[in-house]
Amino acid sequence: MHDTPAAVAAARKLPAGAAAAAGAAPLLQVEALHKRFPVAGRRGAKLHAVDDVSLHIGRGESVGLVGESGCGKSTLVRLLARLLDPSGGRIVWAGDDLAEIRAERFARHPLRADIQMVFQDPTDSLNPRFSARDAIAEPLRLLKGLSAAEAAARVDVVAQQVGLPLALLPRYPHQLSGGQKARVGIARALAVQPRLLILDEPTAALDVSVQAVVLQLLAELRRELGLSYLFVSHDLNVVRLLTDRVAVMYLGKIVEVGPSEAVFRAPRHPYTRALVSAIPGQGPRIRLTGEVSSPIDPPAHACRFHGRCPQGEDRCAREAPLLRPVGSREVACHFAE
């Protein structure tokens, strides 16, 4: 409601053309996406990990995804990266429905190169027996079919882009620092020239001083290469810095989505409010009581946050709120005004 565009623009330099492109068809359009997992030992029971999620990411846009562990953000990420098959819904990528391509086929699909992922802990996600050069070259061989010489030339280019000294390329992960490994992870994702980068807690394993460098690198790469980001993180202060819009998930559903500055400054959903107030280093906190309700066959007619919500009313137990426009954003709460 009080989003001052000047403040937003000052805090974040938008990549050239991003605003104009946002009006055109988005790069990625997710419609009514579902993922239900069978529950071991309980016949017929289903865990609703991702429940009716719709979301779009524009060209050159950076979208944040936040929520507690167990809220389904990792499942959503795996669906979008096409590592997992959805139970229903559409994932429209530049006109194609990716949801129809099965995950194992997508691994060799030409579109695979378009969507790349940077994983959480570079120590765990890099093969310890691959040198930095091999790790970055591998997707080039697999997805682009480059010869060894072509791949080597491309590796040099991306290494420079991510600020990894060429002298470090022959090294193995254990010979690299945390920040250098993070750069290898980013270079590996960038090598095949993706259009969307999914960043899953890319700085969670790094010290703050190193994290700052990597965040600045990511901001710069996006500006230079015109990439779109889906940025998943626990650290809301980091999300705020690196995204244009943010989506807040709770128990498989998106409960609030809107411009990052606005959502963090004046959250509308009671869950977002609690989440934002829990960021260390600021004023009083909203304390949530009660446990997160079970994602296994959740009641269809109740708000998922009911029972934990500080302002829950009878209506919340009878009628599940839908995601609806409120000002510049969308909120799934009966009392968002």
């Binding site: 000052a10 805090a11 974040r12 507690e68 562990s69 620092s177 945390g178 010290d207 703050v208 001083s209 190193v210 994290q211 700052a212 460098v213 965040l215 600045q216 901001a219 626990h234 650290d235 809301l236 202060n237 980091v238 705020r240 810095l241 690196l242 609690a274 989440l275 829990a278 960021i279 260390p280 280093g281 600021q282 906190r285 304390r287 949530l288």
Partner: protein
């Protein structure tokens, strides 16, 4: 003020003998904790904050060797105490909450059994409540950390509980014997922000209620600021600055502290305003370590920094180990707000 501190560490040093050489992990550490005081020990990985806490409890790695200094807890010399004396102390007078509750808890024993182990080990301790059974006391310990339905939870295994719940059990274990000193080593790593807030409130709430001194080890300055009375900043095995929390944030004096603050994303930061700390931690195996271990990363460095070790004056409220500290700005008095 006149009371002697509960914990007094003076000029403490520790090194590790490794195949690759001697790692000078801690050097010239001075640290004091008063009764009931909550002190944050803040630093990046490799700063030595965990090594220090393990050394105090006598649970250091076997490659560790104390090179000098003293560590007194009440009247006890922690560095001279026998293993039996330390074992009596641990869990009763000094307790520790470890980083990842899932690995620190025994995965194949019920929560109630693990709690009763601690209570039984220290059953003869003075102050132990002998009027109630171990089970009743275990239930009470769980109730103290706000676990709902504690009777039923006694029978649970760690894998049946969420990460936040496991951490509550760890806290219950650590506090079951009402220690005077609690060392909490990154107690909220891996927890969600909302759970993190709840766990920190629980720890500091119990600390205040029981007048228990707490050493809170973290890499997160903002989190320390929210919960600590005083903060000690560590860098590469040195304590570089110590100050009451608000003073530290208003006027950080060590260049490293200032950089750490400006590299942490906060409410008002932008991507351009982040200032990473230049360079890397020095290799602590080096023979030619500069006297100030921040010297090679510091903009204010002079020749003196490389030769003469700056010391943290233990007796001042705001102490800094630096030859060229940042200015004492006008805002040295307590800020009016907050």
């Amino acid at each position: 003020m006149t009371q002697p501190p509960l914990l007094a560490v003076k000029d403490f040093g520790l090194e590790f003998r490794t195949r690759g050489g001697v790692v000078r992990a801690l050097e010239g550490i001075d640290l004091q904790l008063n009764k009931g005081e909550i002190v944050g020990l803040v630093g990046e990985s490799g700063s030595g904050k965990s090594v220090l806490s393990y050394a105090l409890l006598g649970i250091s790695d076997r490659a560790a060797r104390v090179t000098g200094g003293t560590a007194k807890f009440g009247g006890i010399d922690l560095l001279a105490a026998s293993e039996a004396e330390l074992a009596d102390l641990r869990g009763r007078e000094i307790s520790m909450i470890f980083q990842s509750p899932r690995t620190a808890l025994n995965p194949i024993r019920r929560v109630g059994d693990q709690l009763q182990d601690v209570l039984r080990r220290h059953a003869a301790a003075p102050g132990a409540d002998l009027s109630r059974s171990l089970k009743q006391r275990a239930v009470q310990a769980l109730r103290d950390v706000a676990i709902a339905d504690p009777e039923r939870r006694l029978a649970a295994y760690p894998f049946e509980m969420s990460g936040g719940m496991c951490q509550r059990v760890m806290i219950a274990l650590a506090l079951a014997c009402r220690p005077q000193l609690l060392i909490a080593d990154e107690p909220t790593t891996g927890l969600d922000v909302t759970t993190q807030a709840a766990v920190m409130d629980l720890i500091t709430g119990l600390a205040r209620e029981r007048h228990m001194a707490t050493l809170f080890i973290t890499h997160d300055l903002a989190l320390a600021a929210d919960h600590c009375d005083r903060i000690v900043v560590m860098h590469a095995g040195h304590a570089v600055e110590s100050a009451p929390t608000r003073t530290l944030f208003a006027t950080p004096r060590h260049p490293y502290t200032a950089r750490l603050m400006s590299s942490t994303p906060g409410e008002r930061s932008s991507i351009a305003s982040l200032e990473p700390v230049p360079g890397n931690l020095p290799d602590l195996k080096r023979d030619d370590l500069p006297a100030c271990r921040f010297a090679e990363r510091c903009e204010r460095v002079s020749e003196r920094c490389r030769r003469e070790p700056p010391r943290l004056a233990a007796d001042t409220a705001h102490a800094v180990a630096c030859w060229h500290p940042l200015h004492r700005a006008a805002a040295i008095e307590e800020p009016a707000d907050a």
